[in-house]
Amino acid sequence: MTQLRIFTRSQEQDDSEGWITATRWLFGDQIGLLVFLASICAFGLIWRTDIFITDTYALANALYNFSNGQLFLVDAAYGPQVETIGVRQAPGGHIARNYGAIILSLPIWVLLEGLILVTDLRITLIGGYSLALLAFGVQLGRLRASDRIVFAACLGTLLFFIVNVGLATPLDATQTHLYALQLLHICVAAFAPVMLYRLLTRLGSPPEAIAGAGLLVFGTPLAIWAAVPKRHVLIGTAVLVIAYTLYRSRADHQGTPGGVTNSEVSPVGFRALAYATVGLYAWINAPEALVLLVIVLFVDVPTASNNHPRALAFIGSVFVLSLLPFFITNHVLVGSPMTPPQLPSGGGGTAADTAGGSTGQQLVQVVPPLVWRVVRPFRILVHELIAGGSVLLRDPEGMYAVLIRSGDTTAALGILGLESTNLSVLESAPPLAGLVGWIGIIWRQRDALSLPERPVSGGTLVSLFAVSAIVVFTLFYANRLQGHAQLTVRYLFVIYPLGTYLLCRLPVVQRTLAEHWRVLAWSAAVTVLIGGQVLAVGIFWTTDSLGEAIQLHGVLSVGTAVPLALWALIGRSDGWFGRLGGILLGSTTALAWLFGLFVAIEYYPRGNSQLLPIVRVVADVLTLV
């Protein structure tokens, strides 16, 4: 029963060879493509075409100045002035950050500008969304070999498009830089569930993998941040790409449980790809890339079966090659290839200062400058981790507010310190409560615990990577978690994709996803459709402010997370236990998705700037707080 076939593959292979290869490389298989399209549709639903957080001004202005042929930030088309959060003074002028995302958004901006020469921008974006919806329906119909689904998708899309065009209002065509950035982030974010699906489908059955991808899209704040041009969703996708490539670097020469082999890339090649992902991420945010590098080195090198100098040299050169965009950008903007546009904020600033201060000066004379330059970032990192560790020891209550329950504490400062609008990690992603189940497993096997045998299997390696990344990032950001406007602890964003992975690897969750995915889907749908209305009424009648309404979500999330945690701790999936697990996983997932919907529609509608007119109309009708 574990190997339920939910899709019967269509035998007709009339697509061109190139398309199949591209699909396989990007999405793994046809279901991966389906996951991608579903994610795009989910993110587009809550896309607001406005600045959600002031940090975005810097990125949008940087892209605006690029499009005017300016390297530095000269004019501010977005925000009050050029100097906004995230803008720094370099020798040549003002610079922004996340240059990787800005430069990769340029082609999308060109495409948008080209399109508005002949089409209306709002209709084009509605049309694009409708086409994604159509592609999803057609893909689903073909995978299930059902003409009826395909025709229903055509009819449904056409109706959806017509209704939205009927309700459409013009979209400000001067803000294409912002939309280009948002589109890039949405597309990258949609690869997070795809990578999770690809990873899980190699470790288990397709239903498990699809349900796991669903947990990530709907059960975590991924959708809330998908259209926000910040590093969060980018690192979310990056860690899953690293996890997947690390898995493939071990799995191929041990025989994969999924039975799929892909011999085009060697194990060493996959290891190189993992490092290359880290290198490319440095182009977005160098300090976080450094953290990732240390973690990957720590879990990969000691566990690899082949650390031959030739293999290491190959991996090293691919890594250096992947850093080239980062080096070039730094060289052009800052004048030094090793100096990133952004250093760690807060505690990191002081660490950087001391490193460049008197001790630094003395050391520079002893250590050759290049070695010093390579060592310096690691010193800052160690300083940050120690500072974070001391915060954990000094202020466990604060960490409780960040990780478990945000309310009931005066420390729950909000945006501008006015409202307590920050949810904890658990309140933002209640399905992660199931991770408690691992404690039960470790406890039951406490006598048999030992270091994993070498060579370490792909699954163990990825779990090792996921746990290390969660712990190290928590330490890295521990002293900056409480003062900032976070909404959903966005600094610790890696917890959401990697936590979802670890959750899906829990044996009891694995069995439940494989056998009771229908229960999960129904429970999620019922919670969204009926529970969502009850929740709207509850918010309307019992809350007077945004802070209260958001805390109501927190209370509900923790309230459903506790039974889920107990269920995972018991660890049974037979009979009613399994169905109960499906219901709990489904309802917690739906609560997280409802929070995302309410953020987009009610709490932060940003001047009713929702992309889809139908969503805007719903937001107009509904006034809760």
């Binding site: 899309t157 056409l158 498009f161 013009p170 504490t409 409202e419 945004l546 805390q551």
Partner: protein
């Protein structure tokens, strides 16, 4: 299969053509701007006969563990003498010692009946500690074609409901 393909292509073409039709190449079809509420150039006049203010307002703790307080102000009752066009009434409460001012705008029209219940949106307050009692200054301000004027004001006790 052919029917399926042509249906899919048909939907795609409809979407494409619609996007082009609303674009700059086709004259005559374009999206219309939404009706914007014209705050600032209100027309009309309002004359107020009398205003009955509530005796006191309260500060209440937020529920569900939200770390803040709400200032809850009961509605003021306004007797309107005459009304024409679409003037605005603002209901304001200033608590000087807390440094907060609450204000809610009401857009009047022909359908407005007298006496009119002038409600106040709850406001959020984030303070570490509060006193038992504060003194607030409530006011009703009329904004119409003859400008902005305070039509009534009164001192209101603001009590912290612990």
């Amino acid at each position: 299969m052919d029917a399926e393909r042509s249906t899919i292509a048909g939907v795609g073409i409809v979407i494409l053509l619609t996007a082009v039709a609303f674009g700059p190449l086709v004259a005559g079809i374009s999206l219309s701007e939404p009706p914007t509420s014209q705050v600032g150039d209100e027309q009309g006049d309002v004359q107020i006969e009398s205003v009955t203010f509530p005796a006191e307002a309260t500060i209440e703790s937020a529920s569900y563990g939200a770390a803040n307080y709400h200032v809850i102000v009961p509605a003021a009752s306004v007797r309107i003498q005459s009304l024409s066009g679409s003037p605005i009434l603002a209901y304001e409460l200033t608590i000087a010692s807390l440094g907060v001012q609450l204000s809610t705008l009401h857009f009047l029209d022909d359908g407005t009946s007298s006496p009119y219940e002038l409600t106040m949106e709850p406001a959020t307050l984030d303070r570490e500690s509060l006193d038992e009692e504060y003194t607030g200054e409530a006011a009703v301000v009329a904004i119409d074609s003859s400008g902005r004027r305070t039509v009534a004001n009164q001192t209101v006790t603001v009590r912290w409901a612990q």
